[in-house]
């Protein structure tokens, strides 16, 4: 790693950390809105298709894509957490590292929660018929 960190890399790093902290939450919000509204509205309209796609596949996409996004956020949070640990062990006393480590720790756990909620939704999709009332 270079000693000089450019402003673009800094901006990117700062935003990347936020992806690591909140990425799972955003992915879950998208998953919930997409999966729920597709299911409820399509079934209310009496069809099991969205455009030409079968409903279960459409809902499946609304599970898999957010799950991948949440897993990515989890990886970033773990990365940030270990990097801060290394930096602190190598004797850096900058409090920004402590702050970042806290956010990364919060991110790791939060992403685990949100990832497992999305996965549980996926399990329900495998078990339940899409429009059963």
């Amino acid at each position: 790693m270079g000693t000089q960190v450019g402003p673009r890399a800094r901006l990117f790093g700062g935003l990347l950390l936020w992806y690591g902290v909140l990425g799972g939450a955003v992915a879950w919000a998208v998953h919930l809105m997409a999966a729920w509204s597709m299911d409820e509205l399509a079934c209310a309209a009496g069809s099991a298709e969205i455009s030409a796609l079968p409903l279960w596949q459409a809902v499946g996409l609304a599970v898999i894509i957010p799950a991948l996004a949440a897993a990515g956020a989890l990886a970033v949070a773990v990365l940030a957490w270990t990097r801060m640990g290394q930096a602190q062990r190598s004797g850096a006393s900058d409090n920004a590292y402590g702050r970042t480590r806290l956010l990364a720790a919060v991110g790791i756990w939060a992403n685990l929660f949100f990832l497992s909620i999305i996965v549980l939704g996926g399990v329900a999709l495998l078990v339940l018929p899409v429009c059963q009332r």
């Binding site: 919930l32 299911d39 920004a96």
Partner: protein, 639 residues
């Protein structure tokens, strides 16, 4: 360098008198109406919220008296409906949230080492709007036209056809009016916590109470619009014949429920979260150590506030939607118990690892742990769709949410009341009186609400004004009524304790408990400028930390005394690096004037005085223009 005790040597006598000159207010009628001091506004919020608590509590006692025996005729069905609606609406909207906003108002600037809130005038405005909106709703009671469709006001029961008259409009307009106050208060908390923290207080050193208030505020910002929209739509339906909730013209009554619970479930956490924050704030002083696993508690606060938005449909498991769409919400409802559990075990571990100091605030915390645990357990039962469908709208639900709300909000509130009373009033409370109050409140609470679980399971529906004698509900109801009076006696003792402390209490030292957060470094009650020297924070427990103490003493520097005006500090958002000193707003009557015009606006909307409403709306716009008119600042103060 040492001067009198309590006056840190950091700031000179001359600087202190300059600070007092810029921040202090001479008592006068005008000063009373125009103050923007966050401590005074915080006290007003607390007193006003307590007043609405009293009204709502009396409503509850009347209801319990009616239900003590089968088929009693103390209240008519109409009166009963109005009472339970006003009880719920007031407890949720006019008591719980404003009470916490009051505590937050008083404490957040003190805890983060600032001299005021970010927007002092907006703060005063928020209070006046709260007061007016609360009165707007309660004045309907003596006229016999109080809302009567339950606190969640479901359509189609509330459509004009079934509820003629003004009662439902009072609900719609009152909550829209109140929403202004809650929203501006929440924004103010967030901005204050982001920009006004003392230098060095990076996010990993922010007190848990402040985290809780900020998380609550974020929930308000994103949840309240759904309620506002709901109320707007219903008002339009009732007054202007639109068809949002009218199935005969393409509308849908379930829209009300969706929008209401998009708001409503976060609102459960909006009410409970600051209470949990109080627990985390009070515990260190009485266990002589910091809360265990600070990062995990922060995690719990953050993730609960996000997850709370994804569980709303679980209030509607009984409405007949596709099973699969429930399951997405069921997953979230189940997972949300994990962060709640994390927080719970963090407190238990703190108590196990610390050295307990048994005083009244700690007693209330223990009462909270027991009560909230029961509420949480019955809550987890609702996540199972099958069980939920069985007990929906029975007294089991009433028991559940009273355990959650009394346990999660009122017990921590009382713990906080006794804990911060010395700071707010400068007087100590009477310990024996406090203990009596605690035991009566705890016993009364269990006696009132525990039997409800049982007769709820036996089938008694909620919101019935009376019941037949042969259904096996008599004994439970009688016990609940006795419990309600015991609870009321306990709360009366709390009030007596407060009055006694103010009148007769011995003077409180700055830090009677050995607390860990910055409010305990200020005088009791705090000076008008809060801190003679704004501290430089070096740890999560600044009051227990030598270097932070030195920063306001021997190492005080001019850039943190700032006695040259009504000034405080901006620091950076995440790491709280020193940015600049800023001039804060002075007292003003404009917030009161603006709130007054809004009151006129809402009253005229209620009675369809369109011309007056138009004039009031114009006055609101003009007042805002005057309020925000940029001042011509001297060039040297630039930046």
């Amino acid at each position: 360098m040492s001067t009198t005790t309590g006056k840190p040597p950091g700031a000179s006598q001359e600087e202190l008198s300059r600070l007092e000159e810029h921040w202090g207010e001479r008592p006068s009628l005008r000063a009373w109406f125009s103050t923007v001091d966050h401590k005074k506004i915080g006290r007003r919020y607390i007193v006003t919220a307590a007043l609405f608590f009293l009204f709502a509590g009396i409503s509850a006692l009347l209801m319990r008296t009616q239900l003590a025996t089968p088929e009693s005729g103390i209240l008519s069905p109409q009166e009963y409906n109005q009472l339970f609606t006003m009880h719920g609406t007031s407890m949720i909207f006019l008591f719980a949230t404003p009470m916490f906003f009051g505590l937050g108002n008083f404490l957040v600037p003190l805890m983060i080492g600032s001299r005021d809130m970010a927007f002092p005038r907006l703060n005063a405005f928020g209070y006046w709007v709260f007061l007016f909106a609360g009165l707007f709703m309660w004045v309907s009671v003596p006229f016999g036209s109080a809302p009567s469709a339950g606190w969640f006001n479901y359509a189609p029961l509330t459509n004009l056809k079934f509820e003629p008259g003004l009662a439902i409009d009072v609900y719609n307009l009152g909550l829209l009016f109140l929403g202004i106050s809650t929203t501006v208060g929440a924004i103010n908390f967030i901005v204050t916590a982001l920009k006004l923290r003392a230098p060095g207080m990076s996010l990993n050193r922010v007190p848990l109470f402040v985290w809780a208030i900020v998380a609550t505020s974020f929930m308000v910002v994103f949840a309240l619009p759904a309620l506002n929209l709901d109320n707007l739509l219903l008002f339009l339906d009732r007054r202007f014949d639109t068809h949002f909730f009218d199935p005969s013209a393409g509308g849908n009554v379930l829209l009300w429920q969706h929008l209401f619970w998009i708001f409503g479930h976060p609102d459960v956490y909006i009410i409970v979260m600051p209470g949990l924050g109080i627990v985390s704030a009070v515990l260190p002083a009485f266990t002589r150590r910091g809360v265990v696993a600070y990062p995990l508690v922060v995690l719990a606060i953050v993730s609960i506030s996000i997850l709370s938005f994804g569980v709303w449909a679980h209030h509607m498991f009984a409405t007949g939607l596709p099973q699969l769409s429930y399951s997405f919400f069921s997953a979230a409802s189940t997972i949300i118990t994990i962060p709640s559990g994390i927080q719970f075990f963090a407190w238990l571990s703190t108590m196990a690892l610390g050295r307990l100091v048994i005083k009244v605030p700690l007693l209330f915390l223990i009462g909270f742990l027991v009560t909230f645990l029961i509420g949480g357990l019955t809550g987890a039962m609702f996540a199972l769709t099958a069980f939920d469908q069985q007990v929906t709208d029975s007294y089991f639900v009433v028991a559940h949410f009273h355990y959650v709300l009394l346990g999660g909000a009122v017990f921590p509130m009382l713990a906080g009341l006794y804990y911060w009373l010395p700071k707010v009033t400068g007087r100590m409370y009477h310990e024996g009186l406090g203990r009596w109050a605690f035991w009566l409140v705890l016993a009364g609470m269990q006696l009132t609400f525990f039997p409800m679980h049982l007769y709820g399971l036996f089938g008694m529906p909620r919101r019935v004004y009376t019941y037949r004698g042969d259904l096996g509900w008599d004994a439970g109801n009688l016990i609940a009524t006795i419990g309600a009076y015991v609870l009321a006696t306990g709360l009366l003792l709390v009030l007596i304790g407060v009055v006694h402390a103010i009148r007769r209490g011995r003077p409180a030292p700055n830090d009677p408990w050995g607390g860990d957060t910055l409010e305990w470094t200020t005088a009791s009650p705090p000076e008008s400028y809060n801190f003679p020297v704004l501290p430089q924070v070096h740890s999560l427990h600044p009051t227990w930390d030598e270097r932070t103490a030195e920063s306001t003493g021997a190492r005080a520097s001019q850039d943190r005394i700032l006695s040259e005006g009504r000034r405080t500090l901006f620091t950076s958002e995440l790491d709280a690096r020193y940015e600049r000193a800023v001039e804060m707003a002075e007292s003003s009557l404009i917030p009161l004037v603006l709130a007054f015009w809004l009151l006129i606006f809402f009253i005229s909307m209620l009675f369809s005085w369109w011309l007056v409403a138009g004039v009031a709306a114009a006055a609101v716009v003009v007042t805002m223009g005057v309020w925000l008119w940029p001042s011509r600042r001297p060039a040297e103060r630039a930046g």
